[in-house]
Symmetry: C2
Subunit: 168 residues, 2 copies
DNA sequence: CTTGGAATGTCAACAAGGCTGACATAATGT
DNA sequence: ACATTATGTCAGCCTTGTTGACATTCCAAG
């Protein structure tokens, strides 16, 4: 079950059959569903969606970040993000402060209740990730991360690495 | 870069900090975007979306599958799936044949043009997966799959394994 | 200093693709 | 005969993506 079913694995040039790749593609699809399932449940109880989760996650991650910065991380249009931010702000989960240097900018922060929601979401998601890591074993973990990093777009990987180092 | 940054990895109980888990969560988010980016481009040129991709993928995977079966794999409502199938059928990419044993069932098949689209989509996605595997190295590949499998919901994993074995 | 762009953020309207609910039809099973 | 199953369809709602139009703020060139 660890090995995909046969010949490969020694050399530096992998013997990757279309069939193995197809299994990996399906695994990615099904796993992502599991990955989002727990937060989705919590969110839908409160009338929010994945877009809210993403905003809350990255605001928590980089408090004081600007709308523009969040935009480039999330890869959506500012109008799309704005709708989400508007509800989060009016619900009192996010605070938006006008920039001191540049008054065009808005700096975003989680409020106390915002942090509570963020905690609930990330706890649920971390629990699943932790349990997956435990079941897969220590060696699997680094392989997992390496493949994921290699799968990102170049631009995306830049964001990822900036976050990765900033938060260490 | 291979190692996540420190202490862990020998024992059976992993030393998983919240910080490491958070990085893995972000990696999953960013990687999934890369994973869908290439097919998304192809699809949007033809006026389709991810929902069409999923249908085409699993019909190709299990030709003659029924609507009900597809439903349980995709985890959406029949109304949702039906909207997608309707366009694929009327565009001549999918054929729906009444069942011989049970005439209530519709068995789904890709037409010639349907297979062409499927090939384009899966080629693009496989190319990215293959390149990610190559860059990550042989040892990473099995770890990747193990973690993904451990991340799925139990029900989902059933579908996944049935497909995995059926297609080997 | 003024003025024209560039950057930033907001509002409005539309589309895709989820969802629920209600209902029709046909075939099956009891 | 009747209940159940498999499928399809209509209507309406929600989230979340899109584009277009517009206000505000900043900055730099004249």
């Amino acid at each position: 079950m660890a090995d995909s079913g046969g010949p490969p694995s020694g050399e530096s040039l992998l013997f990757l059959t279309d069939d193995q790749l197809r299994k990996a593609i399906e695994a990615m699809f099904f796993a992502y569903r599991g990955f989002t399932a727990d937060p989705d449940r919590i969110l839908s109880e409160k009338g929010y969606g994945r877009a809210h989760h993403r905003a809350v996650h990255f605001i928590n991650r980089s408090p004081g970040t600007t709308v523009n910065n969040l935009l480039s991380i999330l890869g959506v249009t500012k109008q799309s993000l704005n709708r989400v931010l508007r509800t989060l702000i009016s619900d009192g989960l996010v605070e938006s402060r006008v920039g001191k240097q540049d008054k065009r900018e808005r700096h975003l922060f989680l409020t106390e209740p915002g942090e509570v929601l963020e905690r609930a979401l990330s706890d649920a998601q971390r629990d699943r990730m932790r349990s997956a890591f435990r079941r897969a074993g220590p060696d699997a973990v680094s392989g997992f991360r390496q493949v994921l990093e290699a799968m990102m777009d170049a631009d995306t990987a830049r964001h990822y690495k900036r976050l990765k180092e900033g938060g260490a």
